[in-house]
């Protein structure tokens, strides 16, 4: 019996990862960064730097608090070429508290120290699909609680460390018109620890207005514990995801008081990183690659910020672009063998605006993502479908300066 259930689990977890964040394109938070295409490793000059590049925290002279909220707008199209009656359009809109941080800088002798803590919602699993005969709903996600420390060694170089404690929860509920097919998965525990090591070279103190940031996120195992429930069975299982090392570098260049340019590159070593699924009371495991194409992913992010400086107000305008490589690829299934042909890479355009006052800075960003069509072909059967998703996020940040 358990082998059958196990198959269900595998099928469930092999299903398309609809939620955008599940591609683990993990980076920092903040509407200012988002407006600039999330090119922020080489800038990292506000309280969100804990999540981007902790070395940047030493740039803060006064304590800061930052709060970031996010509105998510997602549209999904499921097109069934051989069964058009099944075509479905889905839309999910939801809000979440994305990020909050407190940073406290301390100067000791020639060295600037900064300490900070933050909470970040790294992924949000939410979706709610309704089909003619069934519905699927997922909630919860991954979060981190982080502590950060950084120090300047001279006025050019700084180094910082962030420790991330991974946590979270959530559930998945499948509801069918046939109640015997209903089931649910509840996340009972998420755990994992990793580190972000960041460095920043700030050449502006040498009268060259450029900053260079380097970051490394250490690999670790992200553990999920689940409880499965259906009308006849209840059992526990685990899902261990091998999170890869992620190396990032970023550069920012301040052209003048008004114009700032930034670019990031981040490398995520997904190749040979596995997803290990197993029953709690069994040695049985199913291991699959996290990346459909079993390849490493590269992300590029660029952005600019132009500030209109008025007497008592500064209005920054931002624009940016980033690609959005995913772990998924287009595929086809023949005789129960899945063949992948191309990794899905999305394009995201970003726009931002803000208002900065003496003690407060408010920023907003809009991210417009176009996912490339992804085809899932099941032997040209009625289950074959094309899937298109569009994600639009609206982010709002507030930074309070003390």
């Amino acid at each position: 019996m358990k082998n059958i259930l196990f198959l269900i689990i595998v099928l469930f977890l092999s299903a398309p990862l609809f939620a955008q964040d599940e591609n683990f394109n993990i980076f920092g938070a903040g509407a200012r960064a988002a407006g600039m295409g999330s090119a922020f490793i080489g800038l990292a000059d506000d309280a969100t730097a804990i999540s981007w590049n902790p070395a940047g925290l030493v740039q803060l002279v006064r304590p800061e608090i930052s709060v970031v909220g996010k509105l998510n707008f997602a549209q999904y199209n499921f097109d069934y070429p051989y069964n058009p009656a099944q075509n479905t359009y889905q839309s999910n809109n939801f809000a979440n508290f994305l990020f909050g941080s407190i940073v406290y800088p301390v100067k000791v002798s020639d060295n600037q120290f900064s300490f900070g803590v933050c909470y970040q919602k790294v992924t949000d699993n939410y979706y709610d699909y309704t089909f003619p005969n069934h519905s699927s709903k997922r909630t919860g996600g991954l979060s981190t609680l982080s502590g950060s420390a950084s120090v300047s060694l001279g006025s050019v170089f700084s180094i910082g460390f962030t420790t991330n404690y991974w946590l979270g929860g959530g559930s998945f509920t499948y509801t069918n018109i046939d109640p015997t097919q209903n089931y649910s998965n509840n996340i009972t525990k998420i755990s994992g620890i990793n580190f972000i090591i960041g460095t920043l070279f700030d050449f502006s103190s040498l009268n060259f207005p450029m900053k260079l940031g380097l970051t490394a996120k250490t690999p670790f195992t992200l553990k999920h514990d689940y409880t499965y429930t259906d009308p006849t069975e209840v059992f526990d299982y685990y899902d261990n995801i091998s999170m890869p090392v992620m190396i990032g570098c970023g550069v920012s260049f301040r052209v003048n008081d008004n114009l700032l340019l930034a670019a990031d590159y981040e490398y995520r070593a997904w190749k040979n990183k596995t997803d290990v699924l197993g029953l709690k009371d069994s040695y049985s495991q199913v291991i699959s690659n996290m990346s459909d194409m079993n390849e490493n992913l590269n992300q590029f992010r660029v952005g600019l910020e132009y500030s209109i400086i008025a007497r008592n107000l500064v209005i920054p305008l931002r624009i940016g672009y980033r690609n959005d490589p995913t772990l998924e690829a287009s595929s086809s299934v023949n005789n129960n063998v899945t063949t992948y042909d191309k990794t899905e890479i999305g394009d995201i355009l970003t726009f931002g605006i803000g208002a900065s006052f003496a003690r407060l800075s408010v920023d907003a960003a809009y991210e417009y993502r176009i996912s490339k069509d992804r085809k899932r072909n099941f032997d040209l059967s009625e289950y074959s479908y094309d899937y298109t998703a569009k994600y639009n996020n609206f982010m709002l940040s507030t930074i309070v300066y003390f």
Partner: protein
């Protein structure tokens, strides 16, 4: 299988850790250091200002200005944090609270010129109500490399010290130039904060110490600062302090700053410590009589009036005699002379000094055993119109002055002395000046003894007055006594005439053994 992957994670972690250790070590060795950020220094200044530590606030704001002098109501610092950056205004407030009103005013005006504000106006209005006691000041000199500064004197104290930045030399270390990627060719900038220009009067004596304070700055960081060859301690803001013991006259101050690239800037200053007031003298009066145009039995003289006028001129211009009563020729009647003595007896106080110069005929009557001045209205040998030396002594006795020196270039004036009082042994020292001034004196210096003296001499002067004027002009020091003056002229007069000049106390006029002290204007 999972263990195999975990092993790889571990291996990656080691590699990353080693990478960061290398980076950390590189930074720790201080290869890369730059200058402080203006807003950090400015913020420090604001904190000092809040804490009422105005002196430290001044230092911080000066430093902030040196890093970024441009004021702005919305100046970017980091992130999206913009600040109102008004270092001149804040510096002015710090100066205001330190009581340095002129500096405060200057900086408020600078700030107002760039960013007008109610705060500037408020303080400027307040400052208009404050009497300005300080001298105007130039900003602290910012010395740049290879710059020969304009020969602009920076007054330290109104009277006593002047600081003259003379030359700045920069030496670039050629070896460093070749090996460095970031070519820091500049020597450090040296900013002198003290001595400043508006501290009011400061009495500086031989043992006085001048506090030297400043900031050395360089994009590569400062390694050492030397003040006159001695290594000076520098704080986190590269602020150096040193005490300089000043000698009289010109003192050389050499500040040498070396940056971490071994580029050197040398600033040379000359600090002049002028001689200071060693005595607190009252007013100086002079009563001058010169008569050429005699009539009757008294022959006309050629040089008496010229001698007297030159004496008046010398005393007025070089010695600061503030009130001079002069009677020449027809003005110098017996009545006028006596009247002038009466006026002096009413006017001169116990703190004042009086010099009387008489140049005219003198006479000696054997039957009275007395010498006499001959006023212009005396036309015969009768003593009716004369003024006896004893009368002169009487008049002098009636003048309540600290010191009186009577200089008489006339015949038979040696009769004025008829006795000796104790006199301090002459020496060339400040102590002699101070002691001599502290005791009252009533001396007379005469061109001859009880004998005729020559009217003719050199350059339209009598021999006596010629040398008197000569040494009044040539006495080298600021302070000298009448004894010192006499010692200088005695021999030249004897050697160049038949006269024997005399210098002795006036009998029965209140002499206590002091000396009339001449104080030359600077």
């Amino acid at each position: 299988m999972q263990k195999e992957y975990q092993g790889k994670y571990l291996f990656n972690s080691y590699k990353i850790t080693i990478l960061f250790i290398i980076l950390f070590a590189g930074a720790g060795s201080k290869i890369i250091y730059g200058q402080e950020k203006f807003f950090e220094v400015y913020q420090n200044g604001l904190d000092y200002l809040d804490g009422k530590d105005y002196q430290s606030a001044v230092t911080s704001f000066l430093k902030a200005i040196s890093l970024d002098p441009k004021e702005s109501v919305n100046k970017r610092t980091y992130g999206m944090k913009y600040i109102e950056y008004v270092p001149y205004r804040k510096l002015a407030i710090a100066y205001f609270n330190l009581g340095e009103k002129n500096k405060a005013k200057d900086n408020f005006q600078l700030s107002e010129a760039s960013i007008p504000s109610d705060e500037n106006q408020f303080y400027l209005n307040k400052l208009q109500d404050v009497p300005q006691k300080e001298i105007p000041v130039a900003p602290a000199p910012v010395i740049t490399q290879n710059t020969l500064k304009q020969d602009k004197e920076i007054k330290k104290d109104a009277d006593n010290i002047s600081v003259k930045p003379v030359k700045v030399e920069t030496v670039v270390n050629p070896k460093k130039l070749a090996e460095d990627v970031y070519l820091d060719k500049k020597g450090p900038n040296i900013i002198i904060i003290e001595p400043e220009t508006k501290r009011g009067i400061k009495i500086v004596t031989k043992k006085d110490v001048l506090h030297i304070s400043g900031i050395a700055e360089d994009e590569s960081g400062i390694k050492d600062v030397y003040v006159n060859g001695s290594l000076s301690e520098i704080d986190e803001y590269n602020h150096f302090n040193s005490d300089l013991v000043l000698n009289k006259g010109e003192n050389k101050l050499i500040i040498k700053a070396i940056d971490t690239k071994d580029n050197v800037t040398i600033d040379t200053f000359y600090i002049t410590k002028k001689e200071t007031a060693i005595i607190n003298a009252g007013k100086f009066y002079a009563f001058i009589v010169g008569i050429d145009k005699y009539s009757g039995t008294w022959p006309i003289l050629k040089n008496a009036v010229n001698d007297a006028k030159c004496m008046e001129d010398e005393l007025k211009k070089e010695y600061g005699f503030s009130e001079i009563k002069a009677l020449y020729d027809n003005e110098a009647t017996r009545a006028n002379i006596i009247s002038a003595f009466e006026d002096l007896s009413n006017k001169v106080t116990a703190d004042d000094n009086l010099l009387i110069f008489y140049s005219g005929h003198g006479d000696f009557k054997k039957q009275y055993n007395k010498g006499f001045w001959v006023p212009v209205d005396a036309t015969s040998n009768s003593i009716v119109s004369f003024i006896s030396n004893s009368d002169i002594q009487t008049f002098i006795n009636g003048i309540n002055s600290k010191h009186i020196l009577l200089i008489a270039d006339a015949c038979f004036t040696g009769d004025l002395f008829r006795g000796q009082t104790a006199e301090l042994p002459f020496e060339k020292s400040d102590r002699y000046i101070i002691d001599s001034y502290s005791k009252a004196s009533r001396f007379a210096m005469t061109s001859g003894n009880i004998q005729p003296v020559a009217d003719g001499g050199k350059d339209n002067h009598s021999v006596f007055t010629y040398y008197l004027l000569k040494y009044l002009k040539e006495m080298g020091s600021k302070y000298f006594s009448a004894r010192d003056l006499f010692n200088n002229i005695e021999k030249p007069v004897i050697n160049n005439s038949e006269q024997e000049p005399q210098y002795n106390p006036l009998k029965n006029t209140g002499d206590e053994g002091g000396q009339f002290i001449f104080i030359r204007k600077q």
